[in-house]
Structures are given as structure tokens and as C-alpha cells.
């Protein structure tokens, strides 16, 4: 097979990989914010629920979670297609790591900010929305950038439940043509390119957001 043909087949797989990232990333962000805030502010039973979610998804591995959702859930009568299972497993997994990012970033906002907002008589929700979160958001961007790269890497696992992503295409092309060197070389470069794009995007985002903080971080 010509290198051009190989690349064009692999690019189809890359599109699927990017689609999965595009679906799992918002899910992960949602989980991270919801459970991160619950973990910090909600009453005890909810907090414990959040801790169970976080510990479970961080303590076991992504591939096991993926298999569990894909192979075990159908036995409970929840029929789930491979793509949904993949997005769900990756979103929940990365989201669990994200809760710690959200929590850490909020806790890193200096205590004086909270005190000033109490002194100005803001309500608890106003303090969070107008004072704490806007500052915490900037702290969250770099670790979220790293997590998004972890997500891209983790999408390769969905090939093991038959989704035709970049890894799956590579593996089947390799089995078919035996041109393994070219194929896996191109695949590595493609993943690297996707990761670098994301990393650039997050760096841009960080710059944009910290400009609002008066160019100098938090005083």
C-alpha cells in the first residue's frame, strides 16, 4: 500500500478519535464541576456520594471501566452501543480526575478573597459565582489541558471495543498489510499532532483568561 493511502485511511480513524474527544471532554468537564463543587460544598451524604464516584473511577483503570460498561451493563438490560460506552467511560474517568482539579483550583484562591466577599455581604452563591470561580477558572486551565491530553491518549482504548478510531484502523491496517513500521509511525505522529493542538489551545485560553486578572496572577 502507498503511504498516501495509509495516511488517508488513518485520517478517517483520526476523525473518529477527535469526535470521541469532542463528546467526552464536555462530559468530563461537567462531571468535574458538578462533583468537585459537591465535594467542597454539599452536605455530608452528597459529599460521600461524590467521594465514592471519585475514588472508584480513579482507583480502577479506564479499560476495566470501559469493559464493565460495555460488557456488563447489557446483562442488566441496559443496551448500550460501543460509542456511547466509550464516551461514557472516558468522560466519567477523566471527569473523576477533573474533580480534584476543580477542588484544588478553588482552594488555591486566597482566603482573603472569601473574607472580602463576606465583608461586602455577598451571599454564598454570589461569592462562588462572581468572586471565587472566575479566579479559580484561570488556575484550572493548565491542569485541564493536561487532562485533555490524557483523554486523547485514553481514546485509543475504545479500539478494544470495536470502535473504528485511529488505533483500530491502525491495528486492522497492520494486520492486513504488514507495513507495521509506516502505519504505527504515522499513527504516533497523528496522536502527537492532536495533543499538541489541544495543548496550544489551552495555552491560548490561559493567556486570554489571565489577561482579565490584570496580567499578573492573583495578588
Amino acid at each position: 500500500m502507498e503511504l498516501g493511502e495509509i495516511v488517508s485511511v488513518l485520517l478517517q480513524g483520526a476523525v473518529v478519535t477527535i469526535q470521541i474527544v469532542a463528546m467526552a471532554l464536555p462530559l468530563a468537564a461537567l462531571m468535574a464541576f458538578v462533583f468537585g463543587l459537591i465535594r467542597l460544598y454539599a452536605p455530608a451524604p452528597f459529599k460521600q456520594l461524590a467521594i465514592v464516584y471519585i475514588e472508584f473511577f480513579r482507583g480502577t483503570s479506564a479499560l476495566i471501566q470501559l469493559y464493565w460498561i460495555y460488557f456488563v451493563l447489557p446483562f442488566f438490560g441496559v443496551s448500550i452501543d460501543a460509542l456511547t460506552a466509550g464516551v461514557l467511560a472516558l468522560g466519567l474517568n477523566i471527569g473523576a480526575y477533573g474533580t480534584e482539579v476543580v477542588r484544588g483550583a478553588i482552594q488555591a484562591v486566597p482566603k482573603g478573597q472569601y473574607e472580602a466577599s463576606v465583608a461586602l455581604n455577598f451571599s454564598a452563591s454570589q461569592r462562588l459565582v462572581y468572586i471565587i470561580l472566575p479566579q479559580a477558572l484561570v488556575n484550572m486551565i493548565p491542569p485541564f489541558g493536561n487532562l485533555s491530553i490524557e483523554l486523547v491518549k485514553a481514546t485509543s482504548l475504545v479500539s478494544l471495543i470495536t470502535i473504528a478510531d485511529l488505533t483500530f484502523k491502525a491495528k486492522s491496517l497492520a494486520d492486513m498489510t504488514l507495513q507495521v513500521g509506516e502505519i504505527f509511525g504515522v499513527v504516533l505522529v497523528l496522536y502527537f499532532a492532536i495533543a499538541q493542538c489541544l495543548s496550544l489551545f489551552f495555552r491560548y485560553l490561559e493567556k486570554r483568561l489571565s489577561r482579565g486578572l490584570g496580567r499578573g496572577g492573583v495578588n
Partner: protein, 225 residues
């Protein structure tokens, strides 16, 4: 639809098989971490070395390894290396892939740990006319180790949790064994849940031990012999 209930008899039947596969998982983790620490240390020192070219090459190599999937790296080693006449068993392939992948992460940990040691220690060593090698070995590393323990431990736990990916090159670790049992018996619930619970237990235990080791470690560092 199959009425699904938790079957303890089935659990007891498959548990020994999964536990014996746990030995493979743990062995791969152990060897992988030894390799990762070695690779990490070498790369960390190279990134502080005198040659600018080497520093840049090592930086991009680390960046590349860290931002591409472990699974692809495993496939690469397993399928491409034989083209160059190097055939390795699934276990050896897995250990190398894990070791190099996490070595790339650890090199960052080691580098910032080494840079965290007070500059005055370097100056004092220069004043005492110690060689660079002796300074690293006797002065810098002993002091750098304690602050590195938590991050290093977390990466080793992370590595442990990625060992199921070795099932993709037919290594008979826990997940692969569970999958085989599942497909033979048409019951995935117990094997996959067992594997999940075992991973959770091992990770929690490891996290606890790391915390313990860090606390026991002398704050002033110790002599490397």
C-alpha cells in the same frame, strides 16, 4: 434478557484464576517501575546536562512519549520491533513500554526535585572541590528524594492501572483472564467486577504505603551507599 444476580459460587470458582493472573500484573508493574525510575533519572540528568542539543532533543522526546497513547507504543514495540530483528515476549514488551512511558513522566518529577534542592548546596560542593558526579550522588540526590516520593508513587500507581492495556498483546494479566472467563461462561459481571475491586484494593493499599514511606523518610535525606 437474562436475569442477572451476583453469583458467589461463580466468584469462588474464578477467583483463583484471576488471583494467579494478578501475579503477572504485579510483576509487570514492579519491573516497569524499576525501568521507569532508571529511565526517568537518566533523562532528568540529560536535561540538565551541558549539551543544549541533547537537552532539546530529550525534551521533545519526553513530550512525544507523554502525549501519545501507551497502547500505540505497546503495539509499536510488539509489531514493529521484530522488523528490526528484535522479537520480545508480551511481558518484556509490556515492561519496556510501561517503563519508558512512565520514565518520561518521572523525568519531570526528578528534574523538579533536583532543582528544588537549595542552590547553596551546589556552591558548597564546588567550594569543596567535589566532582559533578559525587555532588549528585552524595549531596543532591539524597536531599531530593523525599520530596519526590509522593509524585513518583502516584505515577507508579497510574502505571499499575494501565497494565490492563497489555491484554491487547495477549499478556495473560488480570483483565485478559477475566475477559476469557467472561466469554467462555457468558458472564462478565463477576470477573470484571472482581478485577475492578482488586485494582481498587491494590491502588488504595499502594497510596497508603506511599504516604507511610514518605513519613518514615528522614527529612534531611540519607547517605546513598
Amino acid at each position: 434478557m437474562i436475569e442477572l444476580t451476583w453469583d458467589w459460587a461463580f466468584v469462588w470458582q474464578v477467583l483463583p484464576m484471576i488471583l494467579s493472573a494478578a501475579k503477572v500484573t504485579l510483576l509487570a508493574t514492579l519491573l516497569g517501575s524499576l525501568l521507569a525510575v532508571t529511565v526517568g533519572l537518566i533523562f532528568a540528568l540529560l536535561r540538565r546536562g551541558p549539551s543544549k542539543l541533547i537537552r532539546i532533543v530529550v525534551y521533545w522526546l519526553m513530550e512525544f512519549i507523554r502525549s501519545t497513547p501507551l497502547l500505540i507504543q505497546i503495539f509499536f514495540l510488539y509489531y514493529v520491533m521484530p522488523e528490526f530483528g528484535i522479537s520480545m515476549s508480551p511481558l518484556v514488551t509490556g515492561v519496556i513500554a510501561l517503563g519508558v512511558h512512565y520514565g518520561a513522566y518521572l523525568s519531570e518529577v526528578f528534574r523538579s526535585g533536583i532543582e528544588g534542592v537549595d542552590k547553596g548546596q551546589w556552591e558548597a560542593s564546588r567550594a569543596l572541590n567535589l566532582t559533578t558526579l559525587d555532588t549528585y550522588k552524595d549531596i543532591i540526590l539524597p536531599q531530593a528524594i523525599r520530596p519526590m516520593i509522593p509524585a513518583t508513587g502516584n505515577y507508579i500507581i497510574a502505571m499499575f492501572k494501565e497494565t490492563p492495556q497489555l491484554s491487547a498483546i495477549t499478556l495473560l494479566e488480570m483483565l485478559q483472564v477475566a475477559k476469557i472467563i467472561g466469554s467462555e461462561n457468558f458472564r462478565y459481571l463477576e470477573p470484571f467486577t472482581l478485577v475492578g475491586v482488586l485494582y481498587l484494593c491494590f491502588s488504595l493499599l499502594a497510596a497508603y504505603s506511599i504516604h507511610h514511606i514518605e513519613r518514615r523518610f528522614p527529612k534531611e535525606g540519607f547517605n546513598l551507599r
